[in-house]
Symmetry: D2
């Protein structure tokens, strides 16, 4: 059940949470539209909640992803460092697939920023299909990312791969990334829920819209309301692409959830020559921003070279993204209709 | 093999086609970039073709979809009535899923045109999953479409379902549609190849990029160079959508083929509330136009109501599509780079 | 609606069909379990059908594939030449992918028969992805198949690709095959419905169980009750296999339909080394038989060599299939339970 | 690279592992076919390994899943408690989806054993799509499983969900299960690699054969050779089934790997009425055993009821499985060929 409280209804909130605990029901809250909290309780409470002081609204029927749903609240924003995601200005996360070294990381961060990036991405812990492949620089890589942030002012997002790493990664990064392979690693999601850092949740290879939002709900139900979704391509049978960027999910999520959603055209295509157009398409579909792999020398990147673009290409994409985004904002609520040809008969 | 001829090399063309016939090789041609024809021959000819008069170029290695490939020619346009597809101005195909009646069709055509549609679509022969469902008005429906063209001046595209119908449908329509279920109905493709009407080829539910272009090649190799592709969603495991619009295919096709490609956000989502955003996304991905189901009263449309929008919504989409398309054209080859924040360190 | 009639209720049948025609409803019948016909009518009739003489049963709620459903009748058999499909003895369809020549065909038929095949398969009209590939020997190939039947006594099944070919193919073959790419070619299905030859309907690359049975229903609703289904692999994202044999569909179909169903482990794997085990698995799943590509020299077969086995391998498979099938029949309704280890505590 | 050593070549092994460590290459070993170890080294060593004493064989080209490949060794067995998996006798893992309580668990274990089960399965830590669903009894559930083992003698397999749980679960269970959602949770795989308990690795919803074996390789490369694979259905677009059991993977794995592989027809269909036939199909495809959800009252099971069968049904399946398995073993290397009808002409 969902319960919206008025501002200051702290006592009622405490009582409800206590009742939930007595019923062994999971309970959590996020800020509501009217200043107070919205609570989700895992099972219906044995009490007349609607009659309690400060209760604005009780919903017994709602989407299974209660806190993530539009029934909980309207469009939300998530702040990473000083960057706001979801406020209408497309956020550009960019950086190399893997952190490669301290100097390289700082230089790449400068280039990304000069090209228009507002958040720096890079992998220190790398999920690799082969146990024999480079597994990332680990904590050393986290330090390199922090140094790059120091040098450029860009906040940093990087992947966390197990519950025990959440504290460590949180001590360096501004945002935690849960990778596609871990979208349904529920213990990791719970651990991210206990963190105070915002979380970038990437969609699984074959996750449905509902499963995607249920994974976001795990994080929120365990205490962390700051979740940003990221579409990064689904797996299909077409060998022409590494993955197929599924842009339906963007307006599809927005039709049922208040969470911001980004698009990753690098993984979503696997081919650098498609990144530009699919970035534009992602923004046109309504995404709140992009996550793009960029490297000064893509052919020699430590990983994911075939889908990585140069900073120059990024700058071109970013320019067009911002112009297009402004145009779409201006014309959202109606424009002078297109002038058709004269109807002849 | 591909052979490009100079203008006027008619004699060489005749000789090559004769040689191909002697070797029982399929042979066909399309107009090349330099005024002469480009010939595709199914098997290598036993002759020094390069030395023949008027031969500009011989390619022994090329994509399996020879005539459809960029190795044959650069970006092509297809003309339907007086509408040019592929010249940079997005074409808007719109109309009801099924032709419902004469007066209704004419009224719907007027509304579609007023909303910015430039080609009228509507089904007379309807492929339906159930043999007990309405199968379309057949030839009567074709006549209704022709009447709507008469009334509005909009050229008409409609589906053809078997080789024997090609002549009949061609006698009424300006463009033949091959539906998704028939994308690999090779005998139908051959029959469309022998028609002088342009063909709209919709992608199969699970067709790869290569299979899609091979089906286009069937039409071209049997004599008809005027093929327009249409992405209409692939089938995936997510029940949130009827199909998943696969926009990767748009820049993916354009990276290897000169054929125009449209996007159908109605079938590609199955949900009318997603059509607007996915139309914008399709154009941003680089599509040459859109195919949209529109009906004055979607809830009472004879078929496909849940994915059908109103003429008013279409008008709004079309306005934004044209503004966005112009912006993207203007900024294609570089814009003043986005002004990033000052790099601090 | 479904209506079961008693034996001899010819007058009632005529009247019902007339009423259906007056309501423009598609109507067809198949033999019922109790000797009379079972009729499916596309829309409910405006009459008290249950009260008409000889009406045993009226079902207003049934599966959309009415005639193909278990609500119409229990397990049915289909006879091809003198071979009965669905009577508990696994049928073995075998032969080359393409008919290659008269002498070759006769020799291959002899080898297939000696290995245990009971129906001969081979393609005269070949659906090929490329227009430049060999498209089959056409009518000449049909004649070769007929000659091979003459030589061996094996009835022949071969593919038909368009409505206009149904009559021609029927004049040579004992069974018509509708290929996967044409599973939803509804005009072809209708034409097969008007034929008096049994039909082998192969499942589409991504067809759902319901779509598969709806395609069978097209054939039955247009007059031909003799449909045999064939699972031949679905398309998935795993490059390890050409297709993935989906054996769930075998008991899945049998839970809702009376139609026999075969399994094609050649297309369903794409790899000859997997054919043996997947043949056994198909029969264990409950299939009524197998369709297998066999060739005396698979590496030099005109098409599909990598998934083609030798007659010797076929003989080994057939032996085990029959032994396993007998064992499964004997133990279907219970066997002495497996003797577990003594429970210690 | 793969290196096979002779028995007793301990010194060489030590030296090679030291060289690998110096090159920062991951190195691990499994028992080889000839008594000595087979080592996989992540990168080629800078030394003439072939010339070292006791080196029987060096393979520079091999499958990426080196230790799991047939290039490392031939068919292997894994022992769980006193049950051997992979020796030709199908192993039957059975039990409820979730551990429900102590008495219930013991009773269910007795029933499973009486029905022919040889390993007991049951979930104490449950991965659930919703954070609000029952998440399992945790350590208490592990204790209940241990009590059921005590009562019946059946060894126990249960799921582990994060690296930190490996030690805890290992202290109660005889085998660790890595669930489908965690197949590519590489940190969990590494932690299982450091355990001395055998591991049951379930295939991911959309994992390719190669990815499946690479995940097994993670466990082996981190020290644990005792991996058993389990096919449990892939996700497709057909709503008729929860998942589609992909039996191609069984002979597909056996063509490249020595690891045992089980089949889970419960998750692989999602429908209890299909479990019997798909169990038979799995064994016929060559699986080394089955993992089946069984419960005395499936409709009231805590989870997965629709795919759960009763102990009686299990007993019937097990009987037929053993009879069929024996038949297939006896006839593996050839049987008297099937007696075909006389060839007439």
């Amino acid at each position: 059940m969902l319960i919206e409280l008025a501002t200051g209804a702290q006592e009622t909130k405490t009582r409800i949470l206590q009742m939930a605990a007595e019923q062994n029901a999971l309970a959590a809250s996020i800020p509501g539209d009217r200043g107070g909290d919205v609570l989700a309780i895992g099972t219906p409470l044995d009490a007349d909640v609607a009659a309690m002081p400060g209760v604005l609204r009780v919903e017994m029927k709602h989407k299974p992803f209660a806190l993530a749903s539009l029934e909980a609240r309207s469009k939300s924003t998530v702040t990473v460092g000083d960057v706001v995601i979801g406020n209408g200005v497309p956020v550009i996360m960019a950086g190399p697939c893997s952190v490669e070294g301290r100097e390289a990381m700082i230089e790449q961060a400068r280039l990304a920023k000069a090209a228009g990036a507002t958040i720096l991405r890079g992998g220190a812990f790398k999920p690799r299909t082969s146990p024999y492949s480079f597994q990332g620089h680990g904590e050393l890589g986290l330090q390199m990312l922090a140094d790059a942030r120091e040098a450029t002012g860009l906040p940093v997002v990087t992947e966390v791969m197990e519950p025990d790493q959440v504290e460590l990664v949180s001590s360096y990064a501004d945002m935690l990334q849960v990778g596609s392979r871990n979208m349904a690693n529920f213990n990791l999601l719970k651990a991210c829920g206990r963190s105070d850092k915002p979380v970038l949740l990437k969609r699984g290879f074959v996750a449905t819209l509902e499963e995607f939002l249920m994974s976001a709900e795990y994080i929120m139900a365990h205490g962390n309301p700051n979740v940003v979704l990221c579409e990064r391509g689904i797996r299909t049978a077409d060998p022409a692409f590494r993955f197929n960027l599924d842009l339906n999910i963007v307006p599809g999520v927005q039709a049922v959830s208040h969470l911001p959603i980004l698009v990753d055209p690098s993984h979503g295509t696997g081919r650098r020559e498609l990144v530009h157009r699919m970035s534009l398409a992602g923004i046109a579909a309504g995404a709140d921003g992009l996550a793009i792999e960029v490297h000064p020398d893509p052919d020699n990147a430590l990983s994911d070279g075939p889908q990585t673009i140069t900073p120059d290409e990024l700058a071109h994409i970013v320019s067009r993204v911002h112009l297009m985004s402004e145009l779409l904002m201006e014309t959202e609520h109606g424009v002078t209709p297109f002038e058709p040809l004269e109807v002849s008969a």
